[in-house]
């Protein structure tokens, strides 16, 4: 067990380093000095408090979308639609905030907005689970397609009922400051959404590993036939898993709308769904690991943006870094399994030769 954990940490670390190294080398195509550029990246993200806190601001929604993928993955389901569930969550968060603001104390209003977001995302997600359970529909495709539908709904609503008062751009009015999630480090944008994300990640871990519901979800994910013969209905669990998965992704909508953007606009965070999948893979779908992997991706995002501003490197360096890190992490899965096979063989030869 110890050897395995050691392998995991070493290979994951190497994968990240290699992913970043390759991305850095690619900068040579732009005649940029990779060492210098990455120097700027690292020094600037730790040079001031605001930028450093931005890492955690960026990590917050990623924790949620990664949890959404990981949770369904534990039931051997592919929720590729976290992006859409996030859009639905954002829509509910912004519209309910706009409706409730000023009508009640902000604390109560925020709790209600949060609950509505979670419920709405859950319902949207559970449709996918229902299609899977009832019609044996391929959840991978359905969840994938549901994102494009959610995007169309969002664009339609932003253009019509939710459009700002002056009706110039497809975006909503800004929220009252009373509906903003409080920040907890002065001089930064770091809001309590991050703390919520960490707590939710821990709660998901407890749900999966400490409760019988989580146990059953994992059993169905690993071997649905054995589960059936143990009286565990996979159909019900498919719906539950997607319900929870959908609400997790929707929470990102709440923290992004009420915590960061304070409004909803077209083209809002278009890539947190796929980044969430990458993070879940990097963390081996472990909820606690997801917290750290999200912070890493948050740092790449912040660093990439700074690189773009400071030295004329395109912001697509972010996708490059994320993509290369993910590819190398997948390769590290292979390396780990090879290491384990070799170790077993070595042990065996020893036994035989003795």
């Amino acid at each position: 067990m110890n050897e395995k954990l050691r392998d995991l940490i070493i290979t994951d670390f190497l994968a990240i380093v290699l992913g970043l190294t390759v991305s850095a080398l690619i900068l040579l195509f732009l005649d940029k000095n990779p060492v210098e550029s990455f120097g700027i990246l690292f020094s600037s993200i730790i040079s001031d408090k605001y930028t450093f806190a931005e890492i955690f601001v960026k990590a917050t929604p990623l924790i949620f979308t990664a949890l959404a993928f990981a949770f369904a993955f534990k039931a051997n389901l592919f929720n590729i639609g976290a992006q859409g569930q996030f859009y639905i969550g954002s829509l509910i968060a912004v519209s309910s905030s706009l409706f409730l603001q000023g009508k009640m104390p902000s604390g109560i209003a925020l709790v209600i907005v949060f609950l509505l977001t979670v419920i709405g995302g859950g319902i949207w997600g559970s449709f996918i689970g229902f299609a899977k359970a009832k019609f044996k529909a391929n959840e991978f495709l359905v969840s994938m397609m549901s994102t494009y539908v959610a995007l169309a709904i969002m664009n339609y609503l932003l253009r019509t009922v939710l459009i700002e008062t002056k009706a110039e751009y497809p975006q909503t009015n800004p929220l009252d400051t009373s509906m903003w999630l409080p920040t907890f480090i002065p001089g930064t944008r770091l809001h309590i959404g991050f703390l919520i994300a960490v707590i939710v990640a821990i709660a998901v871990w407890i749900l999966l590993y400490k409760t019988t519901l989580g146990y059953r979800i994992r059993v169905v994910g690993r071997n649905s036939e054995a589960a059936r013969l143990a009286g565990i209905s996979s159909k019900r669990l498919y719906i539950i898993a997607f319900l929870i998965s959908g609400s997790l992704a929707a929470m990102a909508g709440f923290t992004e709308v009420n915590g960061v953007q304070h409004m909803l606009l077209q083209g809002f965070n278009p890539d947190i769904g796929s980044a969430g999948i990458g993070i879940a893979i990097l963390a081996n779908a472990n909820p606690i690991g997801i917290i750290f992997a999200s912070i890493l991706f948050g740092a790449l995002k912040v660093g990439g943006t700074i690189m773009g501003q400071m030295s004329g490197i395109p912001s697509s360096i972010i996708e490059l870094m994320q993509g290369f890190v993910m590819v190398f992490v997948i390769l590290s899965y292979f390396v780990r399994s090879q290491l384990e096979i070799r170790r077993e063989k070595r042990k065996l030869r020893k036994v035989v030769e003795e």
Partner: protein, 303 residues
Amino acid sequence: MINILSRALMMSTPLLYGSIAEVYAERTGMMVTAIEGIFLMGAWGGFVGAYLSGSLFLGIIVAILAGIITAVSYAWITVYLKQHQVVTGVAINILAVGICSFFMRVIFGVPIIPLTVEPLATIPIPILSQIPVIGPVFFNQNILTYLMYLIIPTAYFILYKTSIGLIIRSTGENPVAVDVAGLTVERIRFIVVLIAGAMGGIAGAFYSIGYIGMFTTNIIGGRGWIAFAICFLGNWNPLGALIGALVFGLAEAIGIYMQSSGGGFFPNELFIALPYILTIVLTITRKSFNVPAQLGVPYKKEN
């Protein structure tokens, strides 16, 4: 009306390239989940190749190469390193976005006006294009659509009437049988995915240089996934894929028409979402599936 039908056939062309590629790959047990990235790389490669060389033909060659490179990376990880197909596809797709947009910048800097090339011309076929209705719909298309007319029967013939087709179909159903027959499962899967990459690259090029002559990183916008879905809905059969691609091409053509004509009563977002809603509805209502038994399962021998 003829316009819409002609447009529908045009829009279904890349989907058909993509879904036939997917049918072949999935028949060997390989879901090409990197198809969105392959399309994107094809679109990018096609545009870059055409813009720099001034030749659309060279653009298509570059698109094919870009598609192959993407597919080969995917196949190497999934076939030889036996990693998860969905997970690997997601990673490759993200990387494809990064690579396209980064190298657009490397090659073209920050252009002031959007870069364009002259898209593929439609070639009216003498005499045939004069036939009422059928003529303008079927025989006034570009070269890639005409090529498709050849690909459909060829794809069907190879899959069901030749030894290669038999091997491909057997690999997805029971790779052990193929292995025991002395064929290398990994090599078959790798080569088929490589060919799928070439076809996916052409499909991608269709979106950039096939009719608009431009490239943006969101140019594919899920069309790769639609091709992926068509393979499912077409029951892993090239003819099923043909029907599926035509349906989706029609939906897209109607969407474009409605958008340009102002939409009228229905919001144009509805038409944009139509192909995706259609996929969901069809996925749910689709009955007897003919899924290759070992789809998505890496072939592992004890060792």
